[in-house]
């Protein structure tokens, strides 16, 4: 728990949930009859309603991006270093909205929600959703909040893809797009890692075809999936610096299959901790969302055509040691935007921290986002 709330924190925050009755037609051609979106907001919407910024979370993130939920909260939201008074997404100037995606398990409708048709949790009956569906759901909330245009949509990793999809589907509803550590689509290697994670969950004896609610959960499978994910979030150098071949608590080798090395202990800890806060079915759905993301697919693989209707400003940021979504992937995005003569700035930030760098307070990266947001706010006369 924070002894006291730091001065540059947004402070204690409260979540909200909005219910939507109008059915949502999904890309899969299935439909979601009704759905909830859970979200948090930080800062104040100005009378002109022109200072709203949408923050999109990554695979295992949620709407709690900044501040503390209570004085007992051990840690602030996942992007607290980015969002707050005087921070790059400055809540003194911007009204920041952070929405939990469909398919997740943090308050927005997902596989663990009750299916109104059956009165039981959806489980694998939940329809497959896509990034495009997310944007279609998010615009409903935007309308309900009375916001006609986001000053910016900002996200990292899968959240960055969500931000790009906004510029593709509703360019007129967005001024600018900030995509950090994103990719235009997953590589075969990315999909392979996701598939191993899904298999870990689905082959857990407690999985029961996704109908495990109310009983034992597929804990081992989900923990294993998370461990695999974590390997891809860190760079080899970051792992070496963090753990090396250090033995746990300085103990000698066990000559057995218990945890010997710190890195094993770390991964097991991350896996265990994740199981308590995340739903295995949601992990299946969200990894599929990643696998299916490919805005160029509708245009014979030509990404630049996907952005043909966009007239937005873009900031594309990558990190040098990110091998999950490497800087080259961000360059692909940048090239597509350049081809459309769009206002795009691209930078590759030097960092040893791998994919996870987008969550860290790296000076050059934060300065860049802060300057970009500042310029947007000046141009909009905020």
């Amino acid at each position: 728990m924070p002894e006291r709330i730091p001065e540059d924190s947004i402070g204690i925050v409260e979540g909200a949930v909005e219910h939507f009755d109008e059915p949502l037609e999904l890309e899969s051609s299935e439909r979601l009859e009704a759905f909830d979106l859970a979200f948090e907001t930080y800062g104040t919407l100005n009378p002109e309603r022109s200072n709203a910024v949408l923050v999109c979370h990554a695979l295992s993130g949620d709407q709690h991006a900044a501040g503390y939920l209570s004085m007992e909260d051990r840690k602030p939201g996942w992007w607290d270093n980015m969002i707050g008074p005087g921070k790059p997404l400055d809540t003194e100037r911007f009204y920041v909205v952070s929405i939990n995606v469909l398919g997740s398990c943090k308050g927005s409708t997902g596989p663990s929600s009750i299916n109104p048709a059956t009165g039981e949790p959806y489980g694998l009956e939940f329809p497959i959703v896509t990034v495009k569906d997310w944007v279609a759901s998010q615009i409903r909330l935007m309308d309900r909040l009375g916001i006609s245009q986001w000053r910016a949509v900002v996200g990292g990793s899968l959240g960055g893809m969500n931000a790009l999809q906004w510029a593709i589907d509703y360019p007129e509803r967005v001024e600018a797009c900030v995509a950090v550590a994103a990719a235009p689509k997953l590589s075969a290697q990315n999909i392979a890692f996701n598939e191993v994670a899904r298999q870990a969950i689905m082959t857990d004896p407690e999985f029961h075809g996704g109908r495990y609610y109310g009983g034992e959960k597929p804990r081992r499978g989900l923990a294993l999936a998370r461990m695999i994910g974590h390997i891809t979030y860190l760079s080899e150098d970051a792992m070496r610096d963090k753990f090396g071949r250090d033995l746990r608590k300085g103990q000698p080798l066990s000559y057995g299959f218990d945890v010997d090395f710190e890195v094993e202990s770390y991964l097991r800890y991350q896996g265990r901790r994740f199981v308590d806060r995340f739903d295995a079915n949601s992990y299946l759905y969200l990894t599929k969302v990643l696998d299916y993301f490919d805005p160029a697919a509708d245009y014979d693989g030509d990404l630049s055509r996907a952005f043909a209707h966009s007239d937005n400003r873009f900031l594309v940021v990558a990190f040098s040691s990110d091998w999950r979504f490497s800087a080259e992937r961000s360059r692909e995005i940048t090239r597509a935007l350049y081809t459309n003569n769009l206002d795009v700035t691209f930078a590759e930030i030097e960092s040893p921290h791998g994919h996870d760098a987008f969550l860290l307070n790296i000076r050059a990266y934060h300065d860049m986002v802060a300057t970009f947001m500042d310029r947007l706010s000046r141009d909009a006369g905020l």
């Binding site: 350049y338 081809t339 691209f346 300057t371 310029r375």
Partner: protein
């Protein structure tokens, strides 16, 4: 940051950038065109061309520090290392590619010139002339590597690894089948004086060229 700020391309390193050529570039660039400014520094030139000539343009920069300065000016900039060419940019995707005071700091100048003319319909190149009488005097009479107002470095810390004269540049253009459309030579005071006009390779401190692909140029 990579320490690229120390290495630098061109004159942006530390000292005040030597940019007497901006006026000439502005006069050469046609309004409402699309421009790529290589080694754009803090984006001053592009911001000026945007405001005065309504061009749309991108900077290409390696230094994160400069990229942030560009963002502040509202100048789009794409990070790239000019030594690796212009792979992110499609052929004929801009009207003008500008390389101001940077050619002499590039690892493979002839390759970059080819790249510029692949991406742009026309290129504008400016560079400090090592054939200037002051530099010649320092080397020829003083026996030391030249240090002049436009070349303020010591031999051991200069980013300018490929210094050249006007004649060197023009010889390279002939060899590469690059067509010179226009030349402007500025003296030490940034003026197109009589001496710089008559004896450009001796009195020119800064040389500026508008170039395009020659008929037989291979890309």
């Amino acid at each position: 940051m990579r320490g690229y700020d120390q290495r630098g391309h061109g004159m942006k390193t530390g000292a005040k950038r030597f940019r007497v050529d901006f006026d000439v570039i502005e006069s050469w660039v046609e309004p409402r065109t699309r421009i790529l400014d290589l080694g754009c520094g803090d984006g001053t030139l592009l911001a000026r061309l945007r405001d005065n000539k309504t061009i749309s343009g991108y900077g290409v920069e390696i230094s994160v520090h400069n990229i942030i300065a560009c963002i502040d000016k509202g100048v789009p900039v794409i990070q790239a290392d000019l030594d690796t060419g212009l792979q992110d940019f499609e052929p004929d995707s801009v009207d003008f590619v500008v390389l101001s005071q940077t050619l002499q700091a590039i690892r493979h100048p002839h390759y970059l010139l080819r790249e510029m003319l692949r991406v742009g319909r026309e290129a504008i190149v400016s560079f400090p002339n090592i054939g200037h009488w002051l530099a010649r005097a320092q080397l020829g009479l003083g026996g030391r590597m030249p240090r002049t107002p436009s070349l303020p470095y010591n031999w051991y810390n200069t980013p300018n690894i490929h210094l050249h004269t006007l004649r060197d540049f023009e010889f390279l253009c002939r060899q590469e089948d690059i067509e010179i459309l226009e030349r402007r030579v500025l003296d030490r005071h940034g003026r197109s004086g009589m001496l710089a006009h008559r004896l450009p390779n001796l009195y020119g401190a800064t040389a500026m060229y508008r170039i395009q692909r020659g008929p037989g140029m291979s890309l």
